[in-house]
Symmetry: C2
Subunit: 399 residues, 2 copies
């Protein structure tokens, strides 16, 4: 059996680039930008008034002038007003184009208007209340770099530079596969020996948060059916996320069938808890990557976040999240396994602190709902101490 | 003009409960649970084998027995095997029901099977490798509390307890309204005096991340058209998020029209930068809440996160995010305004640190893409110092 560090590195070695695709600006939310985005014009595209008031030429002020004849009212969205003389001004609204001949905006609060003449009551500064053309970005300047995760801020920039369609990293096609005759649908009333499929829903929801809508598939313990369905998804999908079917039981045909279908086992079993019976393989021709998680809910959930998410981040060219938190209690672990323990995070005073969530072994699904993620403790004899810093794997949006 | 603290509290005073609705389990991702969820049966629902091996009665071991005749193979999903005698065992697979008469599972690694007889080679402990019925949760026990934000972990629990449909907090119906004749569509090639609508897209994306798909509406500077459209949305929607149209310009009819339509101004103008011309009102009959953000992109983006998100969190019964971060540099501010400065967060060693993002005044849309959120600095004469702790308003998922 291999160590957690070996398993983790092997999984990352099989990350893949799935290319790019073009989506509409609205569909780009949460995706990863696959190109650099440049300004298509200067920003702002014209000398823009930032206050409501009058636009003047400051030379007039220097020449002692305080009263200006109002020649027009210029609103945002109107063409540039031309041929402004030094003794003239225009009333100008926020967002409007400052006339070429003007260089200063004096706001309404600082002027008095009578009989079409604006009188300036306070000291003005040359250039005030104007957002200069090109002062934010020049045309063709880089505005968002390739590889950025797209949020509301980026969507606003795309809109501003006229990108109605955006080239983003393509997401892998994923099949979520549940296995086992004991599983029934959520709507069903299970018999005493049956349980409902929960792992498929957990994985569906976790992938949905990554903008991936997976294919959901169930395999009952029938070897021919398993072979037929797996053969199809290995060819059609990029990734299989399976749960159950990887222990040593007589009815667990899956590793055998995968092998027969040309999938190479990369490893089976990791010195970690939960998640020890994790099986990972790859079909070298179809380039399909197979994560076969242990059947119990905490193992599946933990291994999804421990292995699959970093694999996905690397495949999309994103930096892999690396977080550390401070322990709120002393933790003693025994044995030679790497441990992943569910914790609640307290974000106080700018510091992340982790408190263990009590669960009953590795089967208590409800404890997941009380955890924000898992701390990663390497095997060691000395206890992990209060205020010690440990690695944290997030399973919930915290900030 | 009122202070930021006053404005913030007034906005929160107008939070509203929009009731509940029932959605399918898949649609519940990201929503807020509106009921308590209870276990519909014991978890696990039966004594469940956690290893592949044989199930025996430990009394036999105490009586010196090491060899057990194999009576059956029990897989997960099979009914309970009955009438097991002390000298018998069944082969049992992970997830299968342990027979009533058995109380211990010995894994394959610890036995040898010959001629239908399993011989135990190591010491066993009574009760080992069994996940006891009801040990995680008893039937009718609370599993997820009302008010929980639903993530993948909760979806798994809903599936396990048979909740195919979930009662969640209803989201407000929101209209995002852009104003101003200078605005053109993303697809358009703007004339020199025009700019593209970016605020609408930013707000659309930010709301989409909250699972809200807003109505997008544009108002050009035509008073009759503005009245007609606003009258409709005030009646039909719960919230209007507007940008632009609240300064003192001659063409900014909107505050006037809102008033004529029965909207009461709660405040106009806040001692803050950016976002000073923020206008907030409410239509007391229709109970419509109106956030009218200043037109420039940073003001709109900042005020959305400063005011609207806490308002939404309170309306949905969620705790309002309160975060603090450490400054990476000394910051001197002047004047009597509360300042919101764009920062990049560094998450290192379990500590959140904030570094200023340089922007050019309050109009540089592209700086938003470099910021993770805003620090909130109250006016004060002394500079804010390196390593000082300040309030942080997140605008991007960080953990």
């Amino acid at each position: 059996m291999i160590s957690f560090a070996e398993a983790y590195n092997l999984v990352l070695d099989y990350s893949q680039d799935y290319g790019t695709e073009t989506v509409s600006i609205k569909q780009a939310i949460g995706r990863v930008l696959a190109v650099d985005i440049f300004a298509d014009r200067d920003f702002p595209p014209f000398d823009r008034a930032t206050k409501d008031g009058i636009a003047i030429n400051y030379n007039a002020i220097e020449n002692g002038r305080r009263a200006f004849e109002i020649k027009a009212i210029v609103a945002a969205g109107q063409r540039t007003y031309k041929f402004l003389e030094e003794e003239h001004c225009v009333e100008i609204m926020t967002g409007a184009v400052v006339p070429y001949e003007a260089d200063t905006v004096v706001m309404y609060e600082d002027i008095t208007i009578e009989h079409g003449i604006a009188n300036i009551n306070t000291l003005a500064k040359r250039g005030q209340n104007i957002h200069d053309k090109g002062s934010d970005k020049k045309k063709d300047e880089l505005v968002i770099i390739n590889g950025t995760k797209i949020t509301a801020a980026e969507i606003g920039v795309f809109a501003a530079v006229g990108k109605a369609n955006i080239e983003v990293k393509k997401l892998p096609g994923i099949a979520v596969i549940s296995t086992g005759n004991e599983l029934v649908e959520v709507e069903d009333h299970p018999l005493p020996h049956q349980i409902r499929k929960s792992n498929s829903y957990t994985l569906y929801a976790a992938l949905y948060e990554e903008k991936i809508e997976p294919l959901l598939l169930h395999l009952s313990d029938d070897k021919d059916m398993i072979r037929q369905k797996l053969s199809y998804v290995i060819q059609e999908m990029d990734v299989l996320l399976m749960s159950g079917g990887v222990s040593k039981g007589k009815f667990d045909f899956i590793p055998k069938v995968l092998e027969e279908l040309g999938v190479e086992k990369v490893f089976h079993g990791v010195l970690q808890q939960p998640g020890k019976p994790f099986w990972f393989g790859v079909h070298k021709d179809a380039k399909t990557v197979i994560f076969s998680f242990p059947g119990n809910p905490i193992s599946t959930f933990a291994n999804y976040h421990i292995y699959f998410r970093p694999w996905l981040q690397k495949s999309l060219g994103l930096p892999i999240s690396k977080l550390e938190v401070f322990l709120e209690e002393t933790i003693t672990i025994s044995g030679s396994m790497t441990r992943f323990l569910g914790v609640k995070i307290r974000l106080e005073n700018g510091i992340l602190r982790a408190k263990l969530v009590k669960d009953n072994g590795s089967g208590d699904l409800t404890s997941l709902s009380r955890a924000d993620g898992f701390i990663n403790l390497m095997p060691r004899e000395d206890p992990y101490k209060i205020d010690e810093k440990v690695t944290f794997i997030s399973a919930r949006t915290l900030i």
